[in-house]
Amino acid sequence: MNDLHAWAAIGLIILASTTGDVLLSYSMKRVGDVEELWKRRGLLAVLGRVLTTPTFPLGLMAMGVAFYSLLFGLSWGNLSLVVPASASLTFVANAVAARIFLHERVGRRRWIAALLVAAGVVLMAL
């Protein structure tokens, strides 16, 4: 029963954090290199620009959902199951989502890595 709860939480974490990661990555690409911006205009300009990017709060909300799902998961399952399982599957889902929505080139090297990570996740769930 606890396992079922933990896996339900893991599924929710994957969905929410992939949505969040894609939205946040898209937002930060629009903001541009924060290190450069900080040097030129200061920290307030960086914060102002990040917070006024419309997709940023949406990404933050998705991450909030993922965070509370993580709290649920951690109270039911082992740290060494919930965190690696959800995060690694999120890694695979993100590779697919980054390719589709962010138009990043995910080469053969990264797909093989995704499979290695997925296999590792299956082994951790046994």
Binding site: L71, L74, L79, A87, R105, R109, L123, M124
Partner: protein, 146 residues
């Protein structure tokens, strides 16, 4: 990639590991949270371990956002994935959670996958067609800011 940018990637790994471990310790203290007692979940934030964990995760988030501003999502993610192996090790050595041989093998495969990505190119040239459109829109939407 400058030395400072590599430090930001290290920060992602370390702060998320420390944050998750503190959260786990706090949530074990707070006991099991059920769907029928949502208030328990909200009150868990008052636990000092959970609160410190959240502080660390906020620092992680700042590093993560910084990295996403100058690197691909698929490049930054391996750096975060490394943290999950660290989390399992911390769970084993600090929280005394049992890790079976198959789980150890799983951890090894995940680490190998991360190493595989890290050894590849860090920035994808495909950025061109998205980026060429973005800065112009960016300049317009943020042009009023002084």
């Amino acid at each position: 990639m400058t030395f400072r940018k590599y430090l930001v990637l290290v920060g992602i790994t370390v702060f998320s590991t420390a944050g998750d471990s503190l959260l786990a310790r706090g949530m074990k203290e707070a006991g099991g949270v059920s769907l029928h007692h949502i208030s328990g979940l909200l009150l868990a934030v008052l636990n000092p371990w959970v609160a410190t964990g959240i502080l660390f995760l906020l620092t992680f988030f700042a590093c993560y956002m910084s990295a996403l501003s100058w690197a691909d999502l698929t490049y930054v993610l391996p750096a975060t994935s490394l943290a999950y192996v660290l989390v399992a090790l911390v769970g084993h050595f600090r929280l005394h959670e049992v890790i079976s041989p198959t789980r150890w093998l799983g951890i090894t495969l995940i680490a190998a996958g991360v190493g595989f990505v890290a050894g590849g190119p860090s920035l994808t040239p495909t950025h061109d067609h998205t980026n060429s459109a973005e800065p112009s829109r960016d300049a317009v939407s943020h042009g009023l800011e002084s």
